[in-house]
C-alpha cells in the first residue's frame, strides 16, 4: 500500500526558504502572493493490507524518525489506486 506523508513547518516557525520563494514570485509579477510555506513529501510503500495497520505503522514512523514534532506537522494519506 502506498502512503503519502506530507510534512510542513508549524505556524510561527521561520521558513526562510518560503520567504525567498515568495519574494521571487512577487518579482515575477505574482504580487498577490502574500505568503509561501515549504514542506516535504515522503512516499512510503508498505507491504501490509489492512488500512488501520498501515496508518498505525506510518504514524509510528513519523513520530520516531520522519518528523521533528518540535517544528513540524504531518499528515498521512493512503493512496488508493
Amino acid at each position: 500500500m502506498k502512503v503519502i506523508v506530507n510534512v510542513s513547518l508549524k505556524e510561527g516557525v521561520l521558513d526562510p526558504e518560503g520567504q525567498a520563494i515568495k519574494s521571487s514570485l512577487n518579482n515575477l509579477g505574482f504580487e498577490h502572493c502574500s505568503d509561501v510555506r515549504t514542506g516535504k513529501q515522503i512516499i512510503l510503500n508498505l507491504d501490509q493490507n489492512s488500512e488501520d495497520e498501515v496508518l498505525t505503522q506510518a504514524k509510528k514512523m513519523c513520530e520516531e524518525l520522519l518528523v521533528n514534532t518540535v517544528i513540524e506537522n504531518y499528515e498521512i494519506n493512503i493512496l488508493k489506486d
Binding site: 521561520l14 521533528n68 518540535v70
Partner: protein
C-alpha cells in the same frame, strides 16, 4: 583522562577534534564508529561536526538513530560528559538528548566566520565553570542550520534552569550581524538538565592555534578537561 570522538558516515571535523583533544590531554582519544555500542568507559565523549548521512531528512536525524546513540545515553546516565559541536549539536538534539530544534539560518546562507560568544550566567557545568560570567570567546562557526528554535515555554524553562550556556555577543552597538543565524535569544549553546552535556554550534577545535587566528577554543577545551579531571 579518557576521551572518545564519535565518527559517523559524513563526519568531517573528527580529525580536527582528535588533534585538539590530544593537544589538551596529551593522549589520543579513541575513535568510536557509529555502529559500535560497546566501548570502554570514557570521561568525555565528543560528537564532532560534519554532514552526517548527507544531512538527509533533517540535519542529524539519521545519525541520531545510529546504534552508538544508546551507548552515549548510557554514558550520560552514568554522569558522563558529552560535547556536541555543530552537526554534533544537531545530532544530540535529534536524539532528544538536548531540547529544541536547529533550523535553517535566517538568511538562507551557509555562514562560515568567527563569532564572539559570551559566557552566560548558567548552572554548574564542566565546560564553562572556569570562566567568568560575561567573558567573551572568539570561536568560528560554519553551518547552514544553526538557528536555534524552541517554543516560548521551552526558552523560558531553559533560561530559568540556567541551561543557556553561550550566546552570540554584540561587540559594538553598530554591529548588526553578530548573530550569524537568527538563533532565538542569540543562543549559541545549551546544556542538558544535569549540565553534563553541552551542544554548541561554534567549533572550538578550529581555534586552537595562533595560525587559526585565535586560541579561545583551546581555552574552552582545556577548561573542560581540567574540570573533568578535577
Amino acid at each position: 583522562m579518557r576521551s572518545g570522538v564519535v565518527i559517523f558516515p559524513g563526519s568531517n571535523c573528527d580529525r580536527d577534534m582528535i588533534v585538539a583533544l590530544k593537544q589538551v590531554t596529551g593522549k589520543t582519544p579513541i575513535k568510536i564508529w557509529h555502529k559500535e555500542n560497546d566501548f570502554p568507559n570514557l570521561d568525555l565523549i565528543v560528537v564532532p561536526g560534519g554532514f552526517t548521512f548527507g544531512d538527509y531528512l533533517r540535519c542529524g536525524a539519521l545519525a541520531a538513530r545510529s546504534p552508538v546513540i544508546s551507548s552515549i545515553k548510557n554514558h550520560i546516565s552514568r554522569g558522563g560528559t558529552v560535547l556536541g559541536v555543530c552537526n554534533g549539536f544537531q545530532i544530540l538534539i535529534e536524539a532528544k538528548i538536548l531540547p529544541g530544534s536547529l533550523i535553517r539560518n535566517k538568511k538562507l546562507l551557509f555562514t562560515c566566520r568567527e563569532t564572539t560568544l559570551e559566557v552566560q550566567n548558567c548552572m554548574k557545568n564542566p565546560f564553562l565553570s572556569g570562566f567568568k560570567i560575561g567573558e567573551c570567546l572568539k570561536i568560528p562557526v560554519a553551518h547552514n542550520e544553526g538557528n536555534y528554535f524552541a517554543p516560548k515555554e521551552l526558552l523560558k524553562q531553559l533560561k530559568e534552569e540556567g541551561r543557556i550556556a553561550l550566546k552570540y555577543s554584540k561587540q559594538k552597538n553598530s554591529e548588526k550581524n553578530y548573530n550569524p543565524n537568527g538563533s532565538s535569544d542569540d543562543i549559541a549553546g545549551i546544556l542538558s538538565n544535569n549540565g553534563k552535556v553541552l551542544g554548541m554550534m561554534p567549533h572550538p577545535e578550529r581555534a586552537i592555534n595562533y595560525l587559526h587566528g585565535g586560541t579561545d577554543g583551546l581555552k574552552l577545551l582545556t577548561n573542560c578537561i581540567q574540570q573533568i579531571i578535577g
